[in-house]
């Protein structure tokens, strides 16, 4: 059996481990080790060496991100760590599992990560709908505080950190890291210009690291077992295990912790149990609603950041949505683009105006009422709303599935163009 460090304590339909049981299972040993044996620079070096990459969608190397935080005497003395727990990428349900299932693992990860970057305050930016996760986290934080694992003088080390849960109030854009910072400051969640990057000037202008929940949950295990062990969990160059999920018309939709580099075929057929009877595989969004389609020819690709990028898609959040032959492709895309149009923050024009236009054209095509030129118009939008044309990655993300669908399934679009009505004079 392959090792599954992130989910080893998680059993479905069972309450998560309370502090005592979590410690009995080896919990908070990494925190002890970090505080007693490792200086912050050493932890950053180990995380870099582990080849851990961000699990929230962008895949940026975590240790490198941490190393951008200014350190030393001349650096700003206040720093923040923010956990992005605003899981809202369509088709994504992995961070929920980690927070509901093993909240102490997440709390321990936050304390160690705060120590590594020198943060005195941590916020968990949690989406409002994750009510059970909030309850479990509150309990874990309370237990950790009472046991001196969190607060002023953690385990007698002199290190102090404060941990708060901020429950949000909806809107997908809050998951964009700079929009998230505005949301935390009590403003409208509109993305900020980069640079400056949050590591230099984030929350209230102080150096801030924003990491995804799953990313952070890897940290205690890397500290405990070392970078080499972590790299070897993976079958490819990117380190570690990954929470992979599958939804759509498969036999066993679900979420599994598997080695990074597991093939899409293994995930779909062995873990998700293959397609439901009567449904045939047509394509897949490999890592949530904003990752471009892959098709049958890609099924044997190892699921990791580089392989999927080479195939023209992205690993994203690692939770895939399957398109089958009985689901309308235009309906599928229409649903996605409706989501992106609705969730646009409205700040920049291409996104605010372009996405509803795309949504309307897709709806017309789905009704068989498309006009000549509509397909070309969709192609143009994939460029006008693509990378570099908008303020943040929201609209380019929305164009990923559309652009790839135009490439792999052109016949579906062509079938949506209204045929000219033939008059009786022309007929026969």
């Amino acid at each position: 059996m392959a090792e599954t460090p992130l989910t080893q304590n998680i059993q479905p339909d069972r309450e998560p481990l309370a502090l005592r049981d979590y410690q009995r299972a080896g919990g908070y040993q990494a925190l002890r080790k970090a505080l007693q044996e490792m200086d912050p620079q050493r932890i950053i070096a180990v995380v870099k060496d582990s080849k851990l990459r961000g699990r929230g969608g962008a895949g940026f190397p975590t240790g490198t991100k941490w190393s951008f935080v200014p350190q030393g005497e001349d650096a700003p003395q206040r720093k923040y760590l923010v956990a992005n727990a605003d899981e809202m990428e369509p088709g994504t349900f992995k961070d929920r599992l980690l927070m509901e299932g093993d909240p102490h693992q997440f709390v321990e990860a936050l304390i160690i990560s705060a120590y590594a970057i020198g943060a005195q305050t941590v916020y968990i930016f949690l989406r409002d709908e994750y009510r059970l996760a909030a309850r479990h986290l509150e309990r874990a934080i309370h237990e950790a505080r009472a046991a001196d694992l969190l607060g002023r003088d953690i385990l007698g080390s002199g290190f102090a950190v404060d941990l708060h849960i901020h429950t949000s109030a909806g809107r997908y854009i809050c998951g964009e890291e700079t929009a998230l910072l505005n949301a935390l400051e009590g403003r409208r969640a509109i993305p900020r210009a980069k640079p400056p990057y949050p590591q230099q000037a984030g929350l209230w202008g102080w150096p801030t690291v924003v990491n995804n929940v799953e990313t952070l949950c890897n940290v205690p295990h890397i500290v405990n077992r070392g970078a080499e062990w972590y790299r070897k969990l993976s079958r490819t160059e990117d380190g570690g295990t990954k929470l992979f999920g599958v939804s759509g018309h498969v036999n066993r939709p679900g979420c599994w912790e598997l080695p990074m580099g597991t093939s899409m075929r293994e995930l779909l057929e062995e873990h998700a149990g293959g397609m439901q009877a009567g449904y045939r595989f047509r394509g897949v969004l490999p890592g949530g609603g904003s990752t471009p389609f892959l098709v049958a020819e890609h099924l044997d690709l190892p699921l990791d950041f580089d392989h999927l990028a080479q195939a023209g898609s992205r690993l994203g959040t690692g939770t895939m949505v399957v398109l089958d032959d009985r689901t309308s492709l235009l309906g599928f895309l229409g649903n996605l683009e409706h989501f992106y149009a609705q969730e646009s923050c409205g700040w920049c024009t291409p996104c605010r105006d372009g996405l509803p236009w795309v949504e309307r054209v897709l709806a017309a095509l789905a009704r068989g009422e498309g006009q000549p030129g509509d397909i070309e118009m969709l192609h143009r939008h994939t460029r006008f709303l693509g990378p570099g044309k908008t303020f943040c990655a929201h609209a380019p993300g929305a164009m990923g599935p559309l652009e790839s669908a135009l490439k792999y399934f052109p016949e579906d679009f062509e079938a949506g163009i209204r045929q000219p009505v033939r008059t009786t004079l022309e007929a026969g």
């Binding site: 899981e87 809202m88 990428e89 369509p90 088709g91 994504t92 349900f93 961070d95 929920r96 989406r127 409002d128 709908e129 994750y130 009510r131 059970l132 708060h164 901020h166 429950t167 949000s168 109030a169 909806g170 809107r171 997908y172 949301a183 935390l184 400051e185 009590g186 403003r187 409208r188 969640a189 929350l203 209230w204 999920g245 599958v246 939804s247 759509g248 018309h249 939709p253 679900g254 979420c255 969004l285 609603g289 939770t319 949505v321 398109l323 089958d324 689901t327 309906g331 599928f332 649903n335 996605l336 989501f339 609705q342 969730e343 923050c345």
Partner: protein
């Protein structure tokens, strides 16, 4: 007018941030927890407490889909309409729900029992289609199971 309880709860939230304005969303949610929605008078008071203008706070309130600036029913149903739920049977569930309740999306039943709202991906796609009522997530919905679910909410 904010009640003493609301005011105290908002002040506790303000203490958790470097600047008190950061507690804007927390304040709106506290008001909503007490009143079901955010009325103009409470919004004005909260803005004063947070050190900003009512217009600014309203700008924040109206950005978020889960802050209600209109009264809602005793129970709010958030029906997920994102991709995995859509693939797995959102439409028949939506149709049945509308018929059972006799209201469209965004409306409240005349008896004030339910408000029906669409929501973006609820992050439970392995149980699609799903909906959230108050704090409870209901998974693997079919049109036939809605009666039993709704009966739990008075």
């Amino acid at each position: 007018m904010l009640s003493d309880e609301e005011r105290r709860a908002i002040e506790t939230e303000m203490s958790r941030y470097e600047h008190k304005r950061a507690a804007s969303v927390d304040a709106l949610k506290i008001i909503q927890r007490h009143r079901g929605w955010v009325d103009d008078a409470a919004l004005r008071d909260a803005a004063e407490l947070l050190g900003g203008s009512p217009a600014e706070l309203d700008g924040v309130a109206t950005f978020y889909n889960l802050i209600f600036r209109h009264p809602v029913g005793r129970h709010v149903i958030l029906l997920c309409d994102s991709i995995s739920c859509w693939i797995c049977g959102y439409e028949p569930v939506h149709r049945e729900l509308r018929e059972r309740l006799g209201i469209a999306m965004g409306q409240t039943t005349p008896d004030g029992r339910f408000t029906l709202l669409p929501t973006a991906c609820l992050g439970a796609c392995d149980g699609a289609p799903v909906l959230l009522i108050d704090d409870d997530l209901h998974r693997n919905l079919t049109p036939g199971c809605l009666d039993t679910i709704l009966a739990n909410y008075d």
